[in-house]
């Protein structure tokens, strides 16, 4: 039995098809990332799996249970951080953990859990005085109280500063190392790439691509290509003097040569040298996940800034 089996899941809000027939499964011990812009339907999907929302159609089994009908039973076995996690204002993280342990009727070592989520330093601070990162960590701590094997994290780092994000990533990696199955939603490409074994890219209620990031890039990205900074004249020269396909990007002043074989790059560069014309920077590059993402996701969320990537697209020098 797989921890999660979703098939043809649908959810409408009035006329809006928030989730429109998606299917996927998650294996035990896997970190599965739902990646998509705001409004893609990630929260709706994850909350249906958590048993917090009712679905309109399709089949969902979480740990073999129907999450809506068997919610009370399921909730004892899973850990959840809802999007924008909040808690009772005047309660410290430590008290919150003890509260949850009492409710689940189990004995826990609150200090160990606080240590697991890197929150030892602020155990006596009330929730409303914690920093954004500490609040999320409190959420993580609470989701761990019942020692679940399956965790759902809805946008665990959205709105946090880079250091706080990295700290949460570290906690998530530790959880993965302990063999927990984790479903994670995010609109950060780097987060999906860094943490997930497999990613499903969601847009307008559909899954537009799914697999490991390299599988997605291979399937949906264009292949490797050589770019040379130069003039249209140089592009024409290379085109007439080689067998290669040569495109010219006017706005960037860049000659783009898709490479069938890596050795094609040599022919292109030899022709450029031969031409006696000026040429500048050269590089080969491949589509990164964000190139693919931009290609696949029709309207990136309205606010382009939201799709922030922390790393620059990977560049590979040729020489």
């Amino acid at each position: 039995m797989l921890p999660i089996e979703v098939s043809q899941l649908r959810k409408n809000y009035g006329d809006l098809k928030a989730v429109d027939g998606i299917s996927f499964t998650v294996k035990e011990g896997e970190v599965f990332g739902l990646l998509g812009p705001n409004g893609a339907g990630k929260t709706t999907t994850i909350e249906i799996m958590e048993g917090l929302r009712e679905r309109d159609g399709g089949d969902v089994k979480v740990l073999g249970l129907d999450p809506w009908k068997k919610g009370y039973e399921l909730h004892k076995k899973i850990g959840v951080i809802p999007q924008e996690f909040t808690f009772f204002e005047k309660t410290t993280p430590r008290e919150a953990i003890i509260y949850y342990a009492d409710l689940f009727n189990i004995k826990v070592d609150p200090d160990q859990i606080l240590k697991d989520v890197l929150l030892e330093e602020s155990t006596k601070t009330y929730f409303d005085e914690l920093s954004g990162g500490q609040k999320r960590k409190t959420g993580l701590a609470l989701s761990l109280v019942n020692s679940p094997e399956l965790l759902f994290l809805d946008e665990p780092t959205t709105g946090l500063d880079p250091n706080a994000r990295r700290a949460i990533w570290e906690v998530i990696r530790n959880l993965k190392a302990k063999g927990k199955t984790i479903i994670l939603t995010t609109h950060y490409l780097d987060e999906a790439q860094q943490l997930s074994d497999r990613v499903a890219i969601m847009d307008h209620g559909h899954i537009v691509a799914m697999g490991t990031t390299s599988e997605i890039i291979q399937k949906h990205g264009s292949g490797e290509r050589l770019t040379i900074q130069g003039t249209q004249k140089l592009a024409d020269y290379i085109k007439t003097n080689t067998e290669l396909q040569v495109d010219y990007d006017k706005t960037r002043g860049e000659i783009v040569i898709p490479l069938q074989k890596k050795i094609d790059a040599l022919a292109g560069l030899a022709a450029a040298e031969q031409s006696g014309l000026e040429w500048g920077q050269i590089q080969t590059r491949q589509d990164s996940l964000d190139d693919v993402f931009v290609k696949l996701v029709s309207e990136p969320a309205g606010e382009q800034g939201e799709m922030a990537v922390e790393q620059k697209p990977k560049k590979k020098g040729l020489f």
Partner: protein, 371 residues
């Protein structure tokens, strides 16, 4: 099914949060006491200014050779003339003692039917003065009425005592502060749980705390019971404070018995549930948040909290009978002021039924999760 342990842990977290919030604590505990002090100071202002004396003039007068003599009018005018007492006449058709107790009047005076006849014929006659032993004005009233009697006796008959005073006490319940204590306890029983749960039902939904809680084994009924228990504790503390201040500062004459306990249990349960129900319906129908106030405010003022409902026009008195708080305040008055335990039992029965219905509705209607 219902787990006492889970209720207790939720109670613990909630009460701790409540106590750490200075603002909530002020409104929950201190504010009603301040109200008692303010109203008590305003209305039990002893001695200064004129004292109202409600008088019923039953005197029939005396017809002498075609002319009607009426000494009682002169008598009452003489009392009024002192400037210290102000005579307010009460219609003869009313039952005077009933009227006094219903309107919590401290001082009253009855001039008997044969007043003029006796006065003319030199027969002894008694006027009846009603005073409230727990009030501060009774002595002044008796003294002045006695002085006027002497004046009348002296002036007309060289000192023979004709008019004298029969002194009656009206039940100790007649003082305003005695009504104020149960009324404001009712106010506290209403306001704290009601406002808090209306607010909680919208805030917890907005910031997804209900969803968060639904992920634990806590049930929504256990959660609501924990809130009710807290408001029982808070209302009881508030009750003790207010009763203490009422007695110590204003000499309130109130009875404290075990009969109060069921009111201190059912009251907060009723209004915590009602707050949850109103909040839930507001969310469900996407109504504006002021709906909670629209339910709370009329109840707050028209249930006999700040003044006996007998002071209100007839139609408002009728309306008061549909307000659940009316039965709480009436019940508290029955216990604390009148020692009318039969009446209190009836009030309790009414409150019990309303509470049960509203509690069940609240638990049924409000949802942890959304569909």
């Amino acid at each position: 099914m219902v787990s006492a342990k889970r209720i207790y842990s939720d109670f613990k977290v909630y009460s701790r949060g409540y106590l750490r919030n200075k603002f909530g604590l002020f409104f929950g505990l201190i504010f009603p006491v301040i109200l008692i002090m303010i109203f008590g100071a305003i209305f039990s202002g002893g001695g200064s200014g004129t004292i109202n004396v409600y008088a019923q003039n039953q005197d029939a007068g005396l017809e002498v050779s075609g002319q009607v003599l009426n000494y009682s009018t002169q008598y009452l005018e003489a009392i009024n003339f002192t400037g210290t007492l102000k005579v307010i006449t009460v219609d003869n058709s009313l039952n005077f003692t009933e009227y006094m107790s219903k309107n919590s009047i401290e001082n009253g005076l009855i001039v008997p039917e044969d007043f003029t006849a006796s006065y003319v014929m030199h027969q002894p006659v008694n006027v009846t003065v009603y005073t409230n032993p727990s009030g501060s004005t009774g002595g002044t009233v008796l003294g002045i009425v006695g002085a006027i009697n002497n004046q009348f006796n002296l002036g007309a008959f060289n000192g023979t005592t004709i008019i004298s005073t029969t002194q009656e006490t009206v039940g100790a319940q007649e003082s305003y502060i005695d009504f104020l204590v149960p009324g404001l306890i009712g106010f506290a029983i209403l306001v704290n749980p009601m406002f808090s749960l209306v607010e909680i039902s919208s805030i917890y939904k907005k910031n997804k705390l209900f969803k968060q809680l639904s992920l634990t084994p806590l049930t929504k009924m256990e959660w609501l019971i924990a809130k009710i228990l807290w408001y029982i504790v808070l209302s009881s503390a508030s009750f003790l404070l207010m009763a203490a201040v009422g007695i110590a500062l204003f000499g309130a004459n109130i009875t404290l018995t075990v009969w109060l306990i069921p009111f201190l249990f059912l009251g907060p349960m009723l209004f915590a549930s009602l707050g949850m129900l109103v909040g839930t319906i507001t969310n469900l129908l996407r109504l504006p948040g002021v709906i909670g106030n629209a339910v709370t405010f009329p109840m707050m003022f028209l249930s006999g909290t700040f003044f006996p409902i007998a002071f209100m026009p007839e139609y408002l008195q009728t309306f008061a009978h549909v307000l659940p708080l009316f039965y709480v305040v009436e019940g508290l008055n029955n216990v604390m002021v009148y020692q009318n335990y039969m009446g209190a039992a009836v009030d309790l029965a009414v409150i019990g039924v309303i509470t049960l219905v509203i509690f069940v509705l609240a638990v049924k209607l409000f949802k942890w999760r959304e569909d």
